[in-house]
């Protein structure tokens, strides 16, 4: 008798379980997180690539802390690089500009932290003009300028390495090519500017009147 009851309840319980778990007819995952976990593949087995979409972007490699991806090469994108083509002498020895004459780089207005915290020399070196330099004066290549930014912006740097900050170029598929800091932020004025939205939906206004 007891056996019978046990068997019956078991059947009911199993039955209920089968009916209630609606997802189970299609696959055996209760949530999409379970599905992701179960179906994850090792990256070597992924065939699809986004190479064709970034072919014409010159890149350099980022490889630090176990992260590896490509970032756009920078030096060839800077109009007046090499700096030493003009800066043949240290700054102090350069010709002083006359009254009414515009100084070189007159168009650069620094809006990055405050004047007490940063000036040109915080990043640009007076010694080797073709390189940047860190807070402790070690040289940093223009192509790897993220090393400069990450001195202060540690949290952003961490998110950028992982992929939560910044922007992947071309495609989602490997190889990963991500914008480096200066591709989105003007280093002299890094904040995004206010502007008008690019469109306004006039139909929506009519519909909702």
């Amino acid at each position: 008798m007891i056996q019978k009851i046990v068997v019956k309840t078991l059947i009911i319980v199993i039955g209920l379980f089968v009916i209630s778990c609606k997802h189970s007819h299609e696959n055996n995952y209760h949530t999409v997180t379970d599905k992701i976990e179960a179906k994850t593949v090792s990256p070597e087995n992924l065939t699809i690539t986004s190479k064709t979409f970034n072919e014409n972007i010159k890149t350099v490699k980022f490889a630090e802390d176990g992260y590896e991806f490509l970032i756009p090469e920078r030096k060839s994108q800077i109009t007046s690089y090499n700096c030493t083509e003009c800066h043949t002498q240290p700054i102090e020895k350069l010709k002083q500009n006359q009254v009414g004459e515009k100084a070189a780089h007159w168009n650069i207005k620094l809006a990055h932290a405050g004047v007490e915290i940063m000036n040109c020399a915080t990043c640009h070196s007076n010694g080797n003009m073709d390189n940047l330099h860190s807070l402790t004066n070690s040289e940093i290549d223009f192509n790897y300028s993220y090393k400069l930014c990450s001195q202060c912006h540690q949290k952003e740097f961490k998110d950028w390495k992982g992929g939560a900050h910044g922007k992947q170029l071309g495609g989602w598929a490997p190889p990963r090519l991500s914008n480096t800091c200066v591709n989105c932020h003007n280093p002299h004025k890094p904040a995004f500017e206010k502007r008008w939205p690019v469109r306004f939906n006039t139909q929506k206004v009519k519909e909702r009147q």
């Binding site: 949530t31 179906k39 939560a164 071309g170 989602w172 990963r176 206010k194 502007r195 939205p197 939906n201």
Partner: protein, 350 residues
């Protein structure tokens, strides 16, 4: 299809009996007295659910109308014949989901040719299937979105959305700080300098739910979830009942009340059958994660257009993808998670 004690007509979708029924009420024998099946009957007398009903109702009109138009047209050249041939085949084609690869190719070819006959322009349409080991997911950084709406523009252009009615798959909601995610009070059609003081921005579109309620309610199975997780619509199978729109808890679907029209020079010619091809009037449309791009490895147009990097797209099954890193390292959440719809669209903050 016939039920003796039923006095109304219903589409028996779930269990279509494998009998040759014609809707005349006779299960046995014949209603028109013919013994052998000609080509027309072979097409018409197959039990195939909803379409069969529509066919029966409209085939008569169609044949009549076709006869009238062809007999009256002065220049019934080869092109016209080809056109009506294509129209005929397109009208009676099956559900995309059930098509063989060859049939898919054929319908794509017909649609391409038909576009060429109409406009003289060539389009490049594919029916590329889902890649193996790919499950698409999307992440949206609320802290980064500035409300510029560049994504909306890119989406409209990429997906050939109707210009006159300003159809938009993406909405950007301007929300007041300190009020939580209050969609009732948010404004999705602002026009002033952004980001506005004391506001933040949140984008919504179809979230490609893993357990999509919109798919369940479609009476004709014109919408479904593909293997790579993209929820698609067969625009040629959709009957425009808008059940799915009502079932979607996220306002992800858009119904087109008029034939989408795009100036010829602005038409995106790179198309996918389930994606941005020019749709007909009175069908459901929505975001397809730019299926014509994403299946090739490319980012959707919105991701590419966003200047702030608020949008991340990728393969959830690739442990090295950016989207996976976000899911594993940021505090992510989804909208109305308690509904169990399992959207594959996560929000996070810096």
């Amino acid at each position: 299809m016939n039920n003796d004690n039923k006095k109304w007509y219903s589409l028996n979708l779930k269990k279509s009996p494998k009998v040759d029924s014609c809707g005349c009420g006779n299960d046995s024998g014949s209603c028109s007295g013919e013994k052998t099946k000609d080509g027309y009957d072979q097409v018409m007398n197959v039990s195939m659910g909803r379409r069969a009903a529509f066919k029966k109702i409209t085939a008569g009109f169609l044949i009549g109308a076709g006869a009238v138009s062809s007999s009256c047209s002065v220049v019934s050249g080869d092109e016209n014949k080809e056109k009506s041939g294509i129209e005929w085949e397109e009208y009676f084609k099956g559900n995309y989901k059930l098509m063989t690869d060859k049939e898919k190719e054929e319908t794509v070819n017909r649609l391409t040719r038909s576009y060429e006959l109409r406009t003289g322009e060539k389009i490049n349409m594919t029916s590329k299937d889902a890649e193996k080991d790919v499950l698409f997911g999307y992440a949206f950084n609320i802290s980064k979105c500035q409300g510029y709406m560049d994504c909306v523009n890119a989406c409209v252009e990429e997906n050939n959305q109707d210009r006159a009615t300003e159809m938009q798959y993406i909405r950007i909601h301007e929300m007041e700080d300190g009020k939580g995610f209050n969609f009732e009070e948010s404004d999705d059609n602002y026009y002033h300098e952004v980001p506005a003081e004391g506001h933040f921005y949140m984008g919504t579109q179809c979230f490609h739910c893993d357990n999509p309620p919109c798919v369940e309610v479609c009476p004709v199975q014109a919408t479904w979830k593909e293997k790579d997780g993209i929820v698609v619509i067969d625009y040629d199978w959709c009957v425009g009942c808008r059940y799915c729109m009502a079932a979607c808890p996220y306002d992800g679907r858009r119904f087109n009340w008029k034939t989408p029209e795009v100036p010829e020079q602005e038409v995106n010619k790179k198309q996918h059958y389930l994606g941005n091809r020019l749709r007909k009037k009175g069908v459901m449309e929505k975001c397809t994660f730019c299926i014509q791009r994403s299946r090739e490895g490319q980012n959707p147009a919105c991701v590419e257009a966003c200047p702030t990097g608020a949008r991340t797209f990728g393969n959830l099954l690739d442990p090295k993808s950016n989207i996976r890193w976000i899911l594993e390292n940021k505090k992510v959440f989804r909208l109305k998670e308690d509904l169990g719809t399992e959207p594959k669209f996560w929000y996070y903050m810096d």
